[in-house]
Amino acid sequence: MHFSDQELIERIQKGDKQSFVVLFDRYKDKISDFIYGYTGEYSIAQDLTIESFLRAYDHLKTYSEMGKFLPWLYTIARTVTLNELRKKKYHVEESLERPVSDEMNLMPKDLIEDNTQRPDFNARSKELKDIVYRVIADMKNEHRDVLLLCDVEGMSYDDAAKVMKCNPASVGAWLKRARKELYDKLRSYGYEI
């Protein structure tokens, strides 16, 4: 039986904790991926995801935004993560430069052009994701936010603006600049895109 977010929230508000576990399972990957873009470390991202959900559970009693649960959850996750980043700086220690010897490395262009013939595609694409997310984690907040919210999560400018607490027009402008920055940085590190 499939419940909508709103139905689950109503059940949670009546004291049904299991419904919150359903919501967690529904969005945990999205939220942890989103946070991963900030930390560049997936284990930390998972811990912060748990914290974000527990924070959301605490505030669900006062939640009233009909049908906008996910942007609201992103807002909480972003706040929790930025607070944590303020307390502890997560540095990406290793260099992002592509090792010259690693000719087997998957290039972004392979992914974009669906060159999936390689037998090690899955493993290599995860390695590539690590590289891309670490570059994103090093970008300034606005650029990182728009890339993760709009391009990775596929959010509209309006919803992204709500999460970032800014103007939708600004989201559009930042997104253009962020894409260019990511493109240039990947190329400068030796990755063909």
């Binding site: 904790k17 942890s32 748990i50 992914l111 994701k129 990775v152």
Partner: protein, 427 residues
């Protein structure tokens, strides 16, 4: 490959969409579920820890506040050695009360008043003692904090106050103010007398230095602040500058010697009156008061007193001599100006009682020579004259002794006795 602007953006957009999704680990999911179901317990635990921390912080703040307040609160002096009638005006209650016990605290703006036969010490332990003589009125105008910062100001409305300032504290000033002058301490013992009926303030200094400022319309005018040094005095009249400090008279110095005894409990005292017959009282062997405090001195003296009693019971002159020698030995081995004069007078009187007049005279002479400024020196000098006149029958030496009383102690109680002796012997 087209590297145009549009393509760049598009390619990044596609890349990000095609990146693989991470899978949330099952272990972490279990952590979440467990935490969710124990959320209340965890919250309760955190709440208790927080309340403990808050309580501890509050307790620490409270302790700091109390300690801070204690140090910043005014430190009030107390009344001690109350003699006769002493009254306190409680400014906060607007009423006069009788000071009937020691250690009554004096607050800011309170007034202490002594009457015809009253005297009292205002004491701030380890800082100062202010002795008020009879018919004196003083107001505590300003008080220092516990750590001693601030100004201590007493306003002497009338009468005499002796101040013995023990300890100078940084950022603290001590002053006695009268209608005519402000007397400020630089570490000292001094006496201030306010005479409102004749618009005059008298200041005499025994130790250290005080500054005396005339309360004129031009306080910083040249000559309005004078430094009064030990053994000097100055006088300030209403609206005038203080007079140039001059040497204190002998009689004034004797008055000031009382400063040495402020706040001290007398351990040894001759029980003689203040009347004109006190030389005769002394020579008939005056009782000697010994404090009941358990000091080494009082224990030794008590032993000697027992031997005196034994001598009286036995009627033995030798035992009397032994006892008096023991007392002489005690004085010799425990020299202390606080009670040596009293002991010497007692010994002198006792030798006279035993008929050893020469020793009696030499003992009294020791008092006169060693303690010329003592208030009891005049008794000793007069006693010498009395012994020469009545026991040794040496008119010439008796006259010499009486004349010395007249010359050295003209304001003493013994003056009358000496003059009548001179009159008798001159016939």
């Amino acid at each position: 490959m087209n590297n145009g602007k549009f393509d760049k953006e598009k390619r990044v957009e596609v890349l990000l969409k095609k990146l693989p999704k991470n899978q949330f680990e099952e272990d972490k999911r279990q952590v979440f579920v467990s935490r969710l179901y124990n959320l209340e317990k965890i919250k309760e635990k955190r709440r208790i820890e927080r309340s403990k921390t808050v309580s501890l912080s509050l307790a620490a703040c409270l302790a700091l506040f109390i300690v801070g307040a204690h140090f910043l609160m005014p430190r009030n002096p107390v009344l001690r050695n109350i003699n006769g009638t002493v009254k306190i005006y409680r400014a906060n209650r607007n009423e006069w009360i009788f000071a009937d016990r020691d250690n009554i605290k004096i607050a800011k703006r309170d007034i202490v008043k002594t009457f015809e036969k009253g005297a009292v010490d205002i004491v701030l332990p380890n800082r100062y003692k202010v002795r008020l003589k009879n018919k004196t009125e003083i107001k505590l105008a300003s008080v220092t904090s516990f750590i001693g910062t601030g100004k201590t100001i007493y306003e002497l409305e009338k009468g005499r106050s002796f101040t013995y300032y023990e300890k100078s504290v940084r950022k603290n000033t001590f002053s006695i103010k009268t209608s005519q002058a402000m007397v400020s301490v630089i570490g000292t013992a001094f006496m201030t007398e306010a005479l409102p009926t004749i618009n005059k303030t008298w200041v005499g200094v025994l130790n250290g230095t005080v500054t005396v400022t005339g309360l004129t319309s031009l306080p910083h005018e040249k000559g309005n602040i004078v430094y009064v040094k030990p053994g000097e005095k100055t006088i300030v009249r209403t609206g005038s500058k203080p007079t140039v400090p001059v040497r204190l008279l002998e009689s004034e110095l004797m008055d000031l010697e009382e400063l040495f005894r402020i706040g001290e409990k007398q351990q040894v005292a001759l029980l003689i009156s203040g009347g004109k017959n006190r030389v005769r009282e002394l020579l008939s062997v005056t009782p000697l008061y010994i404090s009941s405090d358990e000091t080494e001195l009082s224990r030794q003296v008590k032993e000697i007193v027992i031997s005196f009693s034994e001598a009286i019971k036995q009627g033995s002159k030798d035992m009397h001599r032994d006892s008096i020698k023991k007392l002489e030995e005690l004085v010799r081995t425990n020299p202390n100006p606080k009670y040596e004069v009293q002991f010497l007078l007692f010994i002198g009187a006792y030798y006279n009682y035993l008929g050893d007049h020469e020793r009696s005279i030499s003992t009294f002479r020791k008092v006169v020579d060693d303690y010329p400024r003592s208030r009891l020196a005049s008794i000793a000098q007069c006693a010498i004259g009395y012994i020469y006149e009545h026991h040794i029958k040496d008119k010439k030496k008796a006259l010499e002794a009486y004349y010395l009383v007249k010359a050295k102690y003209p304001y003493s109680v013994e003056m009358e006795e000496a003059l009548s002796g001179i009159a008798r012997l001159s016939q």
